[in-house]
């Protein structure tokens, strides 16, 4: 397979994952802002931070405001991380790697892009927002289904999965990073209504709200939420799960190519380290520091994958 195509597949699925995650963040932010007397200004600010787009937002708007933030995150062409921008990039990559995709996957991506483009051609009114977000998530789900249902399980598939999990690990880590202060066990926070809403919102952003309850019953507190998002081995969006998958997929590539690559060793190292960690260790050494380190590691891994498989040269 061409190195450029491997890169195209990787980015196609990074962008698809990003679109879905941004939609989920907006969903969580919107619900939270409805419960706030101040329109949830602080919440939108942290969502903009999570998607690394606060600065570009402030270049265009004087203040953080719910409706403007939603549209900036959803459809602003000046925001390279907006759902629309990211879907366009995903489709450009899919066009580039068209020969590596099954017809079903290509059509799912193209259909998704056409649907979302139409959906976001005008500003989205609050009354239509949740339905629009749900459509975006569905389009992403259809692409994933086409991938699972029709693609050969070979290197092509592995590069798709690497893109998905790398992006997901990074996104979940950013959610935790921006909100780490509410996840710190501090006496004054515990049990207040406001913080329950915050935690709920964090779980929602990672599509983990229902599974959290299912596993933990009503026992919602910072320690269990952080543990769930970071270390849970069943939650498909946790850091531990994503890291394990990154390692597995790299091992598949090593097996298919018959050659060990540095990125596989890196991922295996991260996986082993996370498996040995408890949430107490993490809190003791600093949640913030841990997350910062994790985001850095994931970034390093991405660069190594890019080199090992000759995405660009």
């Amino acid at each position: 397979m061409l190195g450029r195509n491997a890169g195209g597949l990787f980015w196609l699925f990074r962008f698809m994952e990003r679109a879905e995650n941004t939609a989920r963040l907006i969903d969580a932010g919107f619900r939270l802002s409805l419960a706030r007397p101040d329109d949830g200004q602080g919440d939108w600010e942290s969502i903009l931070k999570t998607t690394s787009s606060l600065q570009s937002y402030l270049e265009l708007h004087d203040e953080v405001e719910s409706n403007a933030a939603v549209n900036f995150l959803l459809r602003d062409k000046n925001n390279p991380s907006s759902v629309m921008s990211v879907m366009s990039s995903a489709r450009d990559n899919a066009r580039m790697v068209r020969t590596a995709l099954t017809q079903e996957v290509w059509e799912a991506v193209n259909d998704g892009w056409l649907t979302v483009k139409d959906l976001l051609s005008r500003a989205v009114r609050p009354a239509d927002l949740l339905a629009a977000l749900s459509t975006i998530r569905q389009q992403s789900a259809i692409v994933r289904a086409a991938l699972h249902g029709t693609m050969l399980r070979n290197d092509i598939y592995d590069f798709c999965r690497l893109g998905t999990y790398l992006e997901r690990a990074d996104n979940t880590a950013r959610i935790v990073d921006v909100k780490y202060y509410v996840l710190l066990p501090s006496v004054s926070h515990v049990g207040s209504v406001l913080d329950n809403a915050q935690w709920e919102s964090i779980l929602r952003s990672a599509s983990a709200s229902r599974s959290f309850r299912w596993l933990n019953g009503g026992d919602i507190n910072p320690r269990t939420v952080a543990e769930f998002l970071i270390l849970d081995r069943q939650l498909p969006r946790s850091l531990a799960f994503s890291t394990a998958k990154l390692s597995t997929n790299l091992e598949y590539l090593v097996e298919q190519y018959g050659e060990r690559v540095p990125s596989a060793d890196l991922a295996r190292g991260y996986d082993v380290r996370l498996r040995a960690m408890s949430i107490e260790d993490i809190f003791e050494n600093g949640l913030h520091e841990f997350i910062q380190g994790f985001i850095q590691d994931i970034n390093t891994l991405g660069n190594q994958v890019e080199q090992d498989f000759r995405f660009y040269g």
């Binding site: 061409l2 190195g3 066009r95 580039m96 020969t99 059509e107 193209n110 050659e259 000759r310």
Partner: protein, 477 residues
């Protein structure tokens, strides 16, 4: 407007109205039983199918509508088995002559020595590549893929308008138009026996493989070279690579490694045996051709010269479809095949010649004037439909650079009905069959790309100028 009588391929000459011509009988029987509202719905369906599959073309310089669909008309263009076999004989003869001509021009230049073509027409032509002199391409094939543009003016009158010997495009439409028709009207294909076109990509792969260089080991590795996703024909490049099971490469993917042209894979560089390039000569190799090009592969031509790769079509093949050379095609065919050309050439005035220029200036309102090196229907004057103002403007351009133009009479192009608001309505069409050339074998896919001028009376069929396409049927014997 064309006041002249024209030949309608479904109904015959307009002065003899009545029943349809035989090749259209099957279609017409079916059509008469259809509900127009249902057909209109199907037309919209076809459009959304094209958009979903992504059969779009990019229009340069139009940011908003960067990706557009070529309009598709659901009425097929039908060619009988006899008509087709006659066309094929003519095409085969012409393409054989073109390859012989290219070999000669890049070797002993017998045709120039014999005085059949003026020497300056070659030596001063931008499409002539001196670097190709004395070089023997693998299999001795120059034009692996040719798209011959043919127009019809009567029951038995076919003219070649252009020989596209560089990188003819449109073949993906030939295939997808058929796919779409079969999808929408399956019952039609059980009533009329139409020869299939879907095996073109396999034929292309076989034909290209048969031209692989001698040093190829095992199954030849074929790659399609595209300028990238922003190119107007990118869909087709990806489509062909996909259906052939070939790699789709860009210039940045390939470089010369150990004397071979190789592509960067996830596991290192692997050699390419046959490169089906969809870029112009100028963009092939910045070291050997254009220095400022970022699109090419430095050193590619040196590998080619050493016999390390097949390039399809060969660099320099464009000299054969140059519009100035076109006017000599009857001589070229006769010179190399020893027989009269089966397919007619449109009479052509070369404005570089004083007498011709004088005639053309006198008759601008009747003629079609084209740029010698132009394509895509740009920069041409269609006299009979142009305004006085347009003619006056064009006259200035022509006087400034006469050598840049050729002129031809406006042919009374045949029409085929389209499905319009008012029902079936005749529109002018042309035809581009696709021809594959390998040593000792020429394959012509039964069908081709029918382009149709959707505007009433218009003779311009180019997609960039409001043209559409039709499925082209060649009937079984």
């Amino acid at each position: 407007m064309t006041a002249k009588q024209h030949f309608d391929e479904m109904m015959g000459m307009a002065e003899h109205p009545g029943s349809e011509r035989a090749p259209y009988r099957g279609f017409n029987n079916w059509y008469q039983g259809q509900d127009p509202a249902y057909l209109r719905k199907k037309t919209r369906e076809a459009e959304s199918m094209f958009r979903r599959i992504g059969i779009t073309f990019n229009v340069y310089g139009q940011k908003e509508a960067a990706e557009r669909l070529i309009p598709f008309d659901i009425v097929p263009r039908v060619i009988s088995a006899q008509e087709w076999s006659r066309l094929c004989r003519g095409i085969e003869q012409r393409v054989t002559a073109i390859n012989a001509f290219l070999h000669d021009i890049y070797h002993r230049q017998e045709i120039l020595r014999a005085g059949r073509i003026p020497e300056h027409l070659i030596s001063q032509n931008d499409a002539f590549l001196p670097k190709m002199m004395g070089l023997d391409p693998p299999g001795n094939i120059y034009t692996h893929i040719v798209g011959v543009d043919i127009v019809r003016t009567g029951e038995n009158d076919f003219y070649v308008l252009e020989d596209n010997a560089r990188t003819p495009s449109g073949v993906s439409y030939m295939i997808e138009n058929r796919e779409t028709m079969m999808h929408m009207f399956p019952e039609l294909f059980s009533q009329v026996r139409v020869r299939p076109v879907g095996d073109y990509p396999q034929s292309l792969r076989k034909s290209l493989s048969a031209c692989a260089p001698a040093m190829t080991q095992g199954r030849p590795r074929v790659a399609v070279l595209t300028p990238g996703i922003h190119n107007s024909a990118y869909f087709e490049h990806a489509f062909l690579a996909d259906k052939m099971g070939a790699e789709l490469v860009e210039g940045s993917d390939i470089r010369v490694v150990d004397g071979r042209v190789a592509m960067r894979t996830t596991r290192g560089y692997e050699p390419i045996d046959v490169l089906y390039r969809r870029v112009d000569d100028d963009f092939l190799d910045p070291m050997n051709f254009r220095k400022d090009s970022m699109l090419g592969v430095p050193g590619l031509f040196d590998v080619y010269r050493a016999g390390g790769i097949t390039i399809a079509n060969a660099p320099g093949a464009g000299i054969a479809d140059d519009k100035a050379i076109y006017s000599y095609m009857p001589e070229i065919v006769e010179f190399y095949t020893g027989k009269k050309a089966i397919l007619k050439n449109v009479p052509t005035w070369r404005c570089s010649e004083a007498d011709s220029l004088a005639y053309v200036k006198e008759h601008l309102a009747e003629l079609v004037v084209k740029e010698v090196h132009g394509s895509g229907g740009y920069g041409m004057l269609v006299g009979p439909t142009a305004s006085k103002r347009e003619i006056a403007d064009f006259r200035k351009k022509l006087e400034a650079k006469p050598g840049n133009y050729i002129a031809q009479p406006t042919l009374s192009l045949s029409t085929v009905p389209i499905f319009a608001k008012e029902g079936l309505a005749p529109r002018h069409v042309d035809l581009r069959p696709f021809v594959l050339v390998q040593p000792d074998k020429i394959t012509i896919t039964p069908g081709g790309l029918t382009r149709v001028a959707l505007k009433k009376g218009s003779l311009v069929v180019n997609s960039s100028q409001g043209g559409g396409t039709k499925d082209t049927w060649v009937l079984e014997e």
